[in-house]
Assembly symmetry: C2
Homo-oligomer: 216 residues x 2
Amino acid sequence: KKQYAVIGIGRFGESLIRELVRMGHEVLAIDTDESRVQDIADIATQAVQADSMDDKVLRALDITSFDAVIVAIGEDIEASILTSLTLKDMGVRKTIAKAQNHMHGKVLAKIGVDIVVHPERDMAIRLARTLVSNSIIEHIDLSADYGIWELVTPRTLVGKNLQNSGLRPKLGINILAIKTGDSIEVSPPPEHVINKDDILVVIGPTRSLEKLNEMD
Amino acid sequence: KKQYAVIGIGRFGESLIRELVRMGHEVLAIDTDESRVQDIADIATQAVQADSMDDKVLRALDITSFDAVIVAIGEDIEASILTSLTLKDMGVRKTIAKAQNHMHGKVLAKIGVDIVVHPERDMAIRLARTLVSNSIIEHIDLSADYGIWELVTPRTLVGKNLQNSGLRPKLGINILAIKTGDSIEVSPPPEHVINKDDILVVIGPTRSLEKLNEMD
Ligand SMILES: Nc1ncnc2c1ncn2[C@@H]1O[C@H](COP(=O)(O)OP(=O)(O)OP(=O)(O)O)[C@@H](O)[C@H]1O
Ligand SMILES: Nc1ncnc2c1ncn2[C@@H]1O[C@H](COP(=O)(O)OP(=O)(O)OP(=O)(O)O)[C@@H](O)[C@H]1O
């Protein structure tokens, strides 16, 4: 069971508090806005109205005893930076901060914040990819050159089995799993036939995966 | 080359515009705030000051000709919902909208928005998982029972090779790739030795992956 402090109960801060509590951990929620403190009081382990730029308050809250402190302050970039700096100076074990924009993110990294998150930017980038090639459902970039993709079966593969699809010899792509409706076949055998609307989970060089995606 | 319209040039809207343009597509940016329109004018294909709730304006902009329209309005939930409804009524091909909270998301889904995004909430959930079990770097949930995880090598596996690790017979887990520093070995052979600080990419039943993660 871990202990976290979340400063700033905006959309990001609130969702973080809820998820950490749901996972069974203790969370202290801090905000200058009394109404936001009240709204989270039933959910957070402890909810306190305070200004995070005040290091006396942070000491009184024993802020260095937490496994991690997350600065989820948004529009007030100065408050976000000053708070992060104060936490680092006090020797907080792990500091995470949300960045408003590129510049803000760079400053946070420079002052030693352990993890800088850009929720809106990262989600926008993911959405852009979904919009442009909506056949890719999920992916992990293993490196600059390799990836694992979950994608809708390209039309040219419908009705083929793993053997005659030629994916491994021609593209160096391995099919890790095939989802048909709600069921999933992990490590499917060579004779398994690929159906229309199946979802393929494949691993291989990213260039090959892009070629596969265009085989539609 | 596709054409998109983004309504609302906040952090999410702006990042989306930048990424779609970077990927080579045309983007019309719309906002009531003149300064935000000015700031994005060099980047967007076209940038217009307008109120998206005004359907005459949307018609003048030929809004139904776009591949997708993204409503990236934040705090003004009413404007977000009204705009989305107007776009659906006008027959826009694909409508995406950003939700401020759970309720807002439900309403957007009910009025037929094709994709509802919760950037802050989704990023908060991802961060929560990273904070709690920071050995898991990335993952794809293939289904409720299977997953692909990228994780830091558990201590008990250091110095073992794939064969004597016993992962497949004991846990039904397959090692898809091993990253050592900057290099990656995809489909490693049975005699490949796992080193401290290697990153393993594994597939298997989620329950087994959780057991593996705890072998530290
Ligand atoms: N110095 C401070 N100490 C404590 N809380 C603060 C401080 N400054 C701002 N906050 C709080 O941080 C919260 C989040 O800030 P704000 O709403 O500006 O961010 P946001 O980026 O729009 O949030 P989100 O995108 O997560 O919804 C607010 O509830 C605000 O009261
Ligand atoms: N009716 C409208 N028509 C066009 N633009 C609008 C309308 N209402 C709001 N906007 C614009 O939407 C943009 C984003 O809204 P806002 O800043 O409230 O959202 P936000 O959720 O804080 O954004 P983000 O989290 O993406 O930074 C603003 O620039 C605002 O001017």
